[in-house]
Symmetry: C2
Subunit: 403 residues, 2 copies
């Protein structure tokens, strides 16, 4: 008998019919002699609707009260899913985050799990109950409700799998797994059977949006094998694990990310420490900087370009203008018309040809590269946004000529 | 500085505007130097909508899961109300039932409060926070969510007032208080300034529907003065207390209740114990019997008539037919075309003329009386349903000739 943690996202439980379908997936697993803990997100657009309700009352509501409000979404879906399973005559119980033992810090809206007291979970499993856990929520040490932020239900599932020592952690989504490229753009792109944690982290960061990054980090930390698969089709998905079998496929994914702005600051005095001060200023305000390019400008000055999330572009400009007398409005530019295209693959560090193959593909497709960033397992380029799909196609065709 | 508990029903927080209005009532009270604990119900039709959602998934869902689902309604309204108060720049915090310390038994759907641990409530009050408590909910000893049933937020408010030793408990509704008769039927009916617990209990049972009965019982038990008043107009309401000032007004209310069926069982053998057995059978199934009339029939048999809630009429008939071989289908009748009209007043026990005045009024209005029941503070008659409004008017005019 195995103990399996399954997670179902909001779109998987958006309608009554989908709730019944999820109930069937869970009970089919249970019928095979497994114990099941199922983590569920709020139904469909519930979270957005609750946010709208809050905004109508108070657009600057405290994050504490937002968490009380939003956690009700998972409370509703968890109880409804339990009711659907009751209807099929299986023993089932729903638990909210705090009932399932989730203790967090007090950072409302993006709380971190500190501990899971598994007493209730294990006692329900011991009674052979199917357990439905409301995802994305816990309580702090003063019993205030906290939420984990978007994608938090993935984290809930992986954390439970780690805490109870589950045999499997399955993340059900509306796609069949992790693909080498976005299957909506490149329908022939093959699905990966396996991928390493690190590769998955790079792909998630790069906008593949299959799995929340914190959950992958947690899976890596506790070495939980996670499988991403479809709640509709009954096929094996993609397994995310520490080490994967040696495969011929060098590249694990080609992605694009359009949620990016390029900020250029020119004519900075060429003195030590200015770049450091700029980026620490941005970090204080939780603005993450990605690709950075520094070049010597004319007349003893230097230019620095970097990328941030698009929603942070104007804020970053404003912050730097306020904080540095050295920077004038004329010397700082925000370009939103950019996209990041990346290839990811754990094997590429020992294959220098990957970079040149990528650049060659982009050159052949007449795509101009503005910036380049590389890590051990990825190469990213910044290009014009309108070239992004063409660039992904060209790079994909270079590495997967037969698909 | 006083500590005031205020309760706002679902219709008082049904829209954004109404939520803001309630926030104003609370903060106006706070601004006068009082501490405020406000109990809130689910918004408008939320509870009914959640029940509908559940029925679509599983019409026979367990009461445990229903309580998880329904308690989300108060969670949403409590956080939204807190946000509205935050917007007005007052210090506020929302607490769910379990956070506010409500321990109950495990009777899901109609749980009884066992204890309130006031530690969190008093510590928030000590910080001068306005506290919003989600009504109608608590947890059992295994941390399962329980709800108190319809009207449970009234009970929440009175229970908190008792537990924290509040100076006042105000129940805000969409009427201005308790009236001598239904103001929709008799617009000139005067509002009562004060009423005793016992009178209020009789009026609530009789269908006045201003205040949940359990909350009045609890207020009586702990001697909490409760005021029923409107959340819209800024007028004093009706105070419910142990002893009220002697007033000229003998009659405290004239009410009608159409949620009633009359069941007649004829030709019962005239042997001891059969009535007792019948009513204990009904009691086992939680069917409350109200007015009972027993008469000797023909041929050494007897007839028994009694009233039950209309929704229990057919069920009661079925139960009695199954349980008693002495009763044939031909000998039991359910009449739904009845109504109960009552007068209530603590003073009437020493004024025998009240009954004769009431009967005279009904006779003059040509209303036929089927059954009569009296207690120390009320007289009820069972009449045809179509005569009910006419009967209330006639009785009212008899006792309040100048209104």
């Amino acid at each position: 008998m195995s103990l399996i943690v399954q997670k179902f996202g909001g779109s998987s439980v958006a309608t009554d019919e989908k709730v019944r379908n999820v109930a069937k997936v869970i009970t089919d697993t249970y019928k095979k002699g497994n114990n099941v803990i199922a983590v569920v997100s709020a139904q469909g657009d519930t979270t957005d609707e609750l946010i709208e309700k809050a905004n109508a009352i108070n657009p600057n509501a405290s994050k504490r009260e937002m968490d009380v409000l939003l956690s009700a979404g998972e409370q509703i879906s968890a109880s409804l899913l339990a009711m659907a399973i009751e209807k099929m005559d299986f023993p089932v119980i729903s638990l909210l985050g705090w009932q399932a033992g989730f203790s967090t810090n007090s950072v409302y809206g993006s709380a971190r799990i500190k501990n899971i007291d598994t007493e209730r979970l294990t006692s329900e499993i011991a009674k052979n109950n199917i357990v439905i856990v409301a995802g994305f929520q816990g309580i702090d040490k003063r019993d205030n409700i906290t939420t984990f932020g978007r994608g938090g239900s993935d984290t809930t599932a992986v954390a439970i799998a780690a805490a109870v020592g589950a045999d499997k952690c399955q993340i059900f989504t509306d796609v069949e797994g992790v693909f080498v490229a976005d299957p909506r753009k490149i329908p022939t792109a093959p699905k990966l059977d396996e991928i390493t944690y690190d590769e998955m982290l790079e792909l998630a960061t790069l906008g593949a949006q299959v799995l929340n990054n914190r959950s992958v980090e947690m899976a890596k930390k506790y070495n939980i094998e996670v499988e991403v698969l479809s709640s509709i089709t009954n096929k094996p998905g993609t397994k995310i694990k520490e080490v994967i079998e040696l495969e011929k496929m060098l590249i694990r994914g080609v992605t694009k990310d359009t949620d990016v702005s390029r900020i250029a600051v020119i004519k900075l005095p060429d003195v030590p420490g200015i770049a450091f001060k700029m980026f620490s200023k941005l970090a204080q305000k939780n603005i993450n900087v990605d690709i950075i390019l520094q070049s010597v400008g004319r007349d003893g000055t230097k230019d620095i370009s970097f990328t941030v999330q698009r929603s942070h572009g104007e804020e970053a400009k404003k912050l730097l203008l306020e904080a540095f007398s050295e920077i004038d409005d004329d010397d700082i530019f925000v370009d939103n018309n950019v996209a990041k295209v990346s290839v990811v693959g754990a094997g590429m560090e020992s294959h220098p040809a990957v970079a040149s193959d990528m650049f060659e593909a982009l050159y052949s497709a007449n795509v101009n590269i503005q910036m380049i960033a590389t890590s051990e397992i990825k190469i990213s380029v910044l290009i014009n946004e309108e070239d992004a799909d063409k660039a992904v196609r060209a790079v994909y065709d270079k590495f997967f000529p037969n698909n």
